[in-house]
Amino acid sequence: METFLQVVTNGLMLGGLFAIVSVGLTLIFGIVKVINFAHGEYLMIGMYLTFLLATGLDVHPYLTVAAVAPLLFVLGALTQRFLIQPLMHARDEHVQIFATVGLSTALMNLALLVFGADIASTPASGLRTSLHIGPVRILAGQAVIFCVSIALVVGLHYYLQRTQTGRAIRAVAQNRDAAQLMGINVNWIYVLTFGIGAACVGLAASLVAPLYPTQPTSGTYFVLIAFVVVVLGGLGSIGGAFVGAMIIGLIDSLSGFYIGSDLREVAVFGVFLLILILKPSGLFGRRSLAHVSP
């Protein structure tokens, strides 16, 4: 029983990690309707920034979020303004996909050039110590990620539902032309949303860096799971991404322990495919993928 509780807890912690790296991706997809293949590289860049700031200024890695999130906001906003926006009127929407794939490769190679292939280790600063909660043990850093992922989902939901700008963001997602007729500057909303989505992954980076090694390919490791989580939850659904992340985290942890760690990915992708076959729009998606229009 205790083992089971521990395995479930590990799954939930993993879910928190998957959620926090996925939220920005689903936000950008849901509003701007662009699949950002450079999302993982945003995370990687955020992790390097965390590493540089934490070691350079000798501060706790969490404090770096005050700089990393705004810097990632700027990176995301620039991506939208100077890469995606000029392509928004392209005949073929796939052009945007190639553009973000290109950006992903460019950023990864840039990191390779600047930092080399070696691992950069952000100081753990006590985040790798175990907390004992009842019968289970969790890493302090994992617990923080889990809690912050919940706060982020709730905070974004509140922002989108209750603030004037949040409503404008939803309006643009629901009906782009009608939003313009209300006097909303749609291009600006896209830039803002891309920035917010990137800032979310910046926040994730500062929390992830003390626990995981940073290297130019760090993003690739997380982004595949992020895509699974986002599609599973229903593209564009923030709450869906959270639930999807928990499901994937639990399957990963349970199958790894009870079936065998070699088969974790088989289990994760098996369940993923099964859910998609049963519900092509994802758990909380309102429309099937084929109906998501640009």
């Binding site: 409503r167 404008a168 939803r170 629901q174 939003a179 209300m182 006097g183």
Partner: protein, 234 residues
């Protein structure tokens, strides 16, 4: 107030509007009538800035708005109630109405405007907390008009407000538009429902294949032979 001079516009390489000139004076209600595909929607989308004219100019209250984006034109005081209603489906009726008051001049007065607008639409008032998507076509059209009024526009444009509605609802829509006109809002209505619109309007333009072929007082158009044959089936 609004003046189009020799405007060409279209989609991509296809020109739909050919040298369209028309004007609307403050306080007037003007209509553009024409059959399906004549270019009525294209005209309104060009005025509001969703499309750019490829030739000619559009002035609003003396200012050249030909090159402005839709959100900038809306800020100046023109509002379009679009064809097919175009509500925000996942928002409540109340949220839809507040979106109407997004433009700066309307935002601070949103509460007050909402009260005034709901007096005009008692049915909408009963449905404030429902999802816009769950309303009937006629109710959605009323919400779309109410949302347009929330912007406190100086010029309010309607694109086929009666499209797809049952005859009794059409009567209601036009009676609402009549009362809006009486409050002194300048109105430009585009319609295929020629009989109703010409009765509601002061002046009218007839648009065919992207060209203005006739313009006259609305009452004169009602008795015009061409209009009677082509649009009133008499």
């Amino acid at each position: 107030m609004l003046e189009l001079k020799a405007v060409d516009a279209g989609y991509g390489a296809t020109t739909i509007l050919h040298s369209v000139s028309l004007n609307v004076q403050a306080g007037e209600s003007v209509t553009i009538i024409g059959g399906n595909g004549a270019g009525k929607t294209t005209t309104l989308r060009t005025i509001i800035g969703l499309l750019r004219p490829t030739a000619g100019t559009i002035h609003f209250e003396g200012q050249d708005i030909s090159r402005l984006s839709a959100h900038e034109v809306v800020e100046l005081g023109i509002t379009l109630v679009p064809e097919g209603r175009q509500l925000f489906p996942d928002m409540t009726v109340r949220e839809n109405l507040y979106m109407g008051a997004f433009r700066r001049d309307a935002r601070s007065q949103a509460e007050k405007t909402l009260k005034e607008v709901l007096e005009l639409f008692p049915r909408v008032a009963e449905r404030l907390d429902q999802q816009a998507e769950s309303l009937s076509g006629g109710e959605q059209q009323m919400v779309a008009i109410a949302r347009g009024l929330m912007a406190r526009p100086r010029l309010l444009m309607f694109d086929e407000p009666s499209l797809g509605l049952a005859p009794i609802i059409v009567e209601q829509v036009f009676s609402v538009i009549d009362s809006i006109v009486k409050t002194g809002v300048t109105v430009l209505i585009v319609e295929q429902n020629v009989h109703h619109t010409l009765n509601a309007a002061d002046r009218g333009y007839v648009l065919e294949n992207g060209e203005v072929v006739l313009e006259d007082a609305a009452q004169a158009l009602l008795t015009n032979d061409h209009v009677r044959q082509a649009y009133l089936g008499i």
